[in-house]
Amino acid sequence: MQTLQIKNNQSVPVSEIPGMDYGAFFDLNTGLVDRKSQRHCVNYFGIPDGGRILLFCCIADDDEQIIHLSSCRVNPTQKYASFTARLFCFEKFEREIHENFGINYSDHPWLKPVRYAFDRADKSQTIANYPFYSIDSEELHEVGVGPIHAGIIEPGHFRFICNGEQILHLEIQLGYQHRGIEKLYLKPQKLSQLATLAENITGDTVVGHSTAFAQVWESLCGFETTPNMDLSRIVALELERIAIHTGDLSAACTDIAYQLGSSVYGRLRTPIVNFMQEWCGNRLSKGLIRPGQDRFPFTQELADRLSSILDIFEPDFTEMNKQLFSLPSALSRFERTGVVSVADAASIGVVGMAARTSGVNRDIRSSHPTGLYNEIRHEAIVKHHGDVYSRVQLRKNEVIQSIGYLRRLIAGLPVKTENIGLKSPSSNMFALSLVEGWRGEICHCAITGTKGELIHYKIKDPSFHNWLALALSVRNNEISDFPICNKSFNLSYSGHDL
């Protein structure tokens, strides 16, 4: 059987996506991914289809710059062989399909709830009685943390099984942030509401998610972005990356009790987010990206302003880096802490920053570029040790890389072209968009019905893949190193829970 091959941001009639029986679907998709590091699953989800469930699997091929689509109709009352038994990278996707539609798998090793969605198939399962893994031993103890954490962060429950100070196992239970976003997309809504929803998926990746939504919508409407829209989006995405990476360097310093680094990186984030406010009126870029619009054109004045902000930012940032990365007390906390091995990373299918720090070169900016990423020819920074140090280094290096891109991008602004109005979405289409947010790849998929209305909207934040990497990274570490491991990933709860 063959898949339908599409490019990033392309939309195709749903009827063209090849459907097949489950056996062929299983062989095709697991065969595509198995032992092929250039391919991974970017989305795998189901939609209800008159008593049956229609599954769509989207496998990205980074070398060929294409995405393989295939589909399969399954019966929720039957049991199926799970992809996960063969390849762990499908683990979360199958759990989600099981939770939403009650599809049973005969050999899934870890068929537990994902987020306790309000419309889950089995309402008897509630978030208060999650089936935690436990080990019966007098030598071991359990530590439960959350859902409400000590800091000002989002809720989630962490259950550690420890031998003394050493972590043997960590299980992460999420779902507290579940707001039913995907279902809100299906209510008859105005475009401004849909765009606002995209901005509120997760507040630290506003540009990433709103760009993914805008691209999906524009693809459905057959809209071509203008050069000035492309510029606004890429500048905003890279600024978001700089702001969050800098903030996370501050948080990493806080967690090793290095006060100077914490304060300096913390205050360095401010000029970047304040620039976003000067540009679009919101420090976290809400209101900036809209489908078919360049709401706040990036003017020469803004370019000059940004360039002077970066001129002041860069030496201060570099000075602090030099100090932090030569400080033995800091390095001894970072190095060899929270390791995700290259083999584990590849096997569980991590994406984005977490992949690149474990030797897996996975970056949508270079593998499935859109807009101006085609021109800047991004080359991903890859680290190989998979420890906290790699993740801290990667953040530092990506900030410097992004500053370089920004300087090139704003050196010559495109001539402003007027937008041609946005039409309404075509009917019976499937659209997919991949965006490399600061955390990793964001994937939005949309399916339209006979009148061009949305009949399914699927959001995948990179955290969906990467939470498992955090759980694996802390094994055999001291429990006191959990905060620094956690911060080095800084995964999203709201992006996962939706």
Binding site: A117, P155, S192, Q193, G266, D316
Partner: protein, 249 residues
């Protein structure tokens, strides 16, 4: 050590000396002013993603507004967002800005509990609960404590346990899955305590209003002492709101 001192010196002065009157940079969207111009009111109401605009008289409910600025884009002659960031109050109705009115938003002093100033006027410890928030208000609450905004100079700090807290700050629209943890956290906070809603999502549900995944019954059972609008709320909005509530405008 010398390097540390050098870096410290290079930071210059970072803190904002006067957080009550400092001007925010750029085109911040704070308190709106609605003129008395006649516009197509149906189109004006329709353009809002969160149904924050009502008519006769034309008014914007800052408890529902996501500050996206769509109305000001479409009807610049009717709606203008000023950079006034002091937009918090303790009475829900005061968040509704009516046309033709350009007055600062203030707290209703008569309904602030009498002991707030004496109890919390010099030290206020808060427990934050993210109940379905998108992490944007959380970023800004963290920023309120960075070296620039430095909220702790006023003795206002976030603490790790509700048992150490004088009140809770809720962000997010309150999901079904967080309803119980939120209630437990509230119960664990000793009296007297305050309830602060931070961000549009918390005040009205925002863009998530009406989602079946929400359970906002907590707010029916408890009195809210402070509403801090914004999407997310700006650190200066947060600081000024807490200062006003504890009698320190």
């Amino acid at each position: 050590m010398f390097n540390n001192i050098k870096i410290w010196f290079h930071q210059g002065k970072q803190f904002i000396p006067d957080v009550r009157n400092v001007k925010v940079p750029g085109i911040f969207r704070g308190r709106p002013i609605i003129s008395l111009e006649t516009v197509d009111e149906k189109a004006l109401v329709d353009c809002c993603p969160t149904n924050a605009i009502s008519t006769s008289p034309v008014a914007i409910d800052l408890g529902k507004c996501t500050f996206c600025g769509e109305c000001a884009f479409r009807f610049p002659e009717k709606v203008v967002f000023t950079t006034d960031y002091k937009i918090s109050t303790n009475e829900r109705s005061r968040l509704i800005i009516k046309e033709g009115i350009d007055e600062p938003i203030v707290l209703n002093k008569n309904i602030i509990p009498k002991d707030f100033k004496s109890m919390f006027g010099r030290s206020l410890k808060l427990r934050q609960v993210s109940a379905g928030g998108d992490n944007s208000c959380e970023w800004e609450l963290n920023a309120a404590n960075n070296v620039q905004f430095d909220m702790s100079r006023f003795g206002i700090e976030f603490v790790a346990s509700p048992r150490h807290a004088d009140g809770i700050v809720i962000t997010g629209p309150i999901t079904v899955n967080m309803a119980e943890p939120l209630q437990i956290c509230y119960d664990a906070t000793p009296d007297p305590k305050m309830v602060v809603l931070c961000g549009t999502d918390a005040i009205s549900g925002g863009i998530f209003e009406g989602s079946p995944a929400l359970d906002r019954s907590f707010l029916d059972r408890h009195t809210v002492d402070l509403y801090i609008p914004g999407n997310p709320a700006h650190p200066l909005t947060v600081i000024n709101a807490l200062l006003a509530l504890t009698g320190r405008e």
